[in-house]
Symmetry: C2
Subunit: 389 residues, 2 copies
DNA sequence: AGAGTTTCGCTACGGTCTTGCTGAAGTCTA
DNA sequence: TAGACTTCAGCAAGACCGTAGCGAAACTCT
């Protein structure tokens, strides 16, 4: 109650806020004239003019001198956000694969790395593969170490505040490693480690099927089952980073739900357990009764946990993601029926369309958020630098 | 992406922000000198001086001229937030009672009304009783209608955005009434209706046992069982206002959990069902095996829903409220054991100490939040008024 | 080539915050 | 009791920011 109040706003901070406002008006838009920016930000033209000049001199924006344009009147100089001022990386460290994405500050992906990893690989082997994937990102895009502004890695299992997965993880031996420490020693930028379901949820809100929603329950349906929560537009981690782990409750049959698919009678013994689910779905689609029963039982078990999350949070949208979301045509409708039976108010249910890149995309988004933070703080230095000149 | 950006900050808004900052530095603190306010807000003394003068001229603050002080140096004039500039009301409309609280803008309760209502009362009777309770608040405190800045009412059952409880409520006939429309027609101030568990959760964070926590699961344990969620310091309503209604899931035995206490063998038939729980708790405390079994079974059922919420949200604290929280000595320890069995990470569990005023207190807090909003918007008019003089 | 239109660059003006200084009102000490 | 010391109140100057408005420049259309 008696603590200091940080809202002490002076003129420098006002300038900072307005600079940020201009940057936001630049980003994600085509090259803009000063007048356009002024109307978008609500600021006056001279203010925007001054700010853009500072932004250009600091390397945040580039000028596009007018070419022969088609409109009447003097053609306006156009400014563009300099997305190449920095780059970010998002990596998905899965059981079978490592997928890395490099993007510029606009979020445009400029490089993709995909590597296979043995499911039973040692943590050291997996870390080394991760390291090589990141190194590949650097060499292929000709990045200097200082060009990387943030690095986010997605792993399976609840991640605590320090980036470790001490409670539980299906990655063998991973609970003993400290990936944040490993990576911060190698790369001179902020490093984050986050749970894969949470990242996939972030991706769905960024570029997926839930861009319009602020309250989202993301359900990862695959050989593992998990959940990620977005409430009020921001990712919920929970006090210990274990939010969404409803599957740990025995009454919720998420741990054993995929076994209905794996143990479906009639499946050929020759195919691997991982491919068995795909076989069940295609066979069920063809009309096989055993396969349809297996799917029904799977959805019934999946729905219990989903219903618990829906009742607890009352989201706007439930997003079905993970490997099984490719068979959403078989899952969505019975899942909706089950939720109608179990819940008070049934939210919209949508199937993910991001495929297996969702976790890496979410990691990218988190890295971009970190980059935004950095832009905000260095925007202040840009101000004071301009003041001296 | 191309929408207008609202962060266009000009000098008037800066002044507004700083005025608000000074108001916040005044509120909840003892009468303060200008120097103290300057250090608290981070602004300079002349700025604070100017703003306080405006605040005093607008009636937001009062001056305390220095009396003979004990410190060295010239004694400072002190400013105090004028909490009597407005009042707010919070009401708990329960099954058995209606409890109303009146408070000034500092949140200091100046009047309390308590009325009994028959559990089976018609909605019209209940509304009329609510109306009389509010009228009593006005007459006893000699308030003018314009002195009331906000009115919040807590009811049982999930409340939608319009303040109605169409999904479900134990108040007979209440799902058909529109309390917001009823009250806005009578009182010239914003009116809010909110779920009782959510309000109780807010109260625990405001004046209760969870003041230090930002992520709270509040469990109402009484003849009814419910939950309220606070995440990141703000109340979670859910997209349709039905967040926390985990009790609707049949696998969670919250609906039937209290029956273990009601149907405890050995209880005298003469006492009412409502008092039976109290009898069971006292008897269990005395060592009766049947009563202890009933309590154990009750806690086991209570824990399933609590575990679902804990696993879903990973809160910092679980607060046990409701009528049964008076018997927390019997509940807390077995509840902790059960959660340890069911959850990945067990949060702290604390028992509420607010008694049966928690819902009304939470309603008061929501009214105060609305009052803060109004202060922010009228603070702008105070600025422009001062500019003209 | 001239008129019309739109943008750019520049200057003046009003508002806000900070810094620095002077006088005022107390307390402490000799 | 008088002087020194401390702290507060008020004023003035300076710096900074955003807004308003004007003339000049550049391009298109007739």
């Amino acid at each position: 109650m008696t603590g200091p109040i940080t809202t002490g706003t002076d003129l420098a901070r006002l300038r900072e806020l307005n600079s940020l406002s201009v940057v936001r008006a630049l980003r994600g838009n085509p090259p803009s004239t000063v007048t356009e920016l002024a109307s978008r930000t609500g600021l006056s033209r001279p203010s925007v003019d001054l700010i853009t000049q500072i932004l250009v001199s600091e390397g945040w924006a580039t000028v596009i001198e007018p070419t022969g344009s088609s409109v009447v009147g003097r053609p306006a100089r156009r400014y563009q956000f300099n997305a190449a001022a920095g780059y970010v990386i998002g990596v998905d460290v899965g059981v079978h694969k490592i997928l890395g994405l490099v993007a510029d500050l606009d979020g445009t992906v400029v490089h993709t790395v995909r590597r296979q990893v043995a499911p039973d690989a040692d943590p050291q082997v997996r870390l080394a593969a991760l390291d090589r994937a990141i190194a590949d990102c650097f060499t292929k895009t000709k990045l200097a170490p200082d060009d990387l502004w943030a690095l986010t890695v997605g792993v399976t299992g609840p991640v605590d505040a320090t980036g470790r997965t001490t409670l539980f993880t299906p990655l063998p031996g991973w609970s003993a490693v400290d990936p944040v420490a490993y990576l911060t020693a190698r790369y001179p930028c902020p490093v984050y480690v986050e749970n894969d379901c949470k990242l996939a949820a972030v991706a769905e809100r960024w570029h997926g099927v839930a861009q319009d929603a602020d309250d989202i329950v993301y359900v990862l349906a695959g050989m593992r089952t998990g959940a990620g929560l977005i409430l009020d537009g921001t990712l919920r981690r929970g006090y210990g980073g274990a939010a969404g782990e409803i599957g740990a409750l025995r009454a919720v049959r998420w741990l054993t739900a995929p076994s209905h698919l794996e143990n479906c009678p009639g499946a050929p013994e020759t195919i691997s357990p991982d491919d068995k689910a795909a076989w069940v779905f295609t066979t069920a689609r063809a009309g096989n009764a055993d396969a349809q029963t297996a799917v029904r039982r799977y959805v019934r078990d999946l729905a219990v946990g989903a219903a618990a999350l829906v009742l607890a949070l009352d989201p706007q949208v439930v997003v079905l993601g993970g490997g099984f979301s490719r068979s959403a045509d078989l899952i969505l409708e019975p899942l909706h029926r089950e939720l109608q039976r179990l819940c008070l108010r049934v939210p919209e249910i949508r199937a993910s369309t991001l495929g297996d890149e969702s976790v890496a995309l979410g990691a990218l988004r988190l890295s971009l958020d970190e980059a935004d933070q950095r832009m905000l703080s260095t925007g202040l230095s840009a101000l004071s630098a301009a003041r001296r000149s």
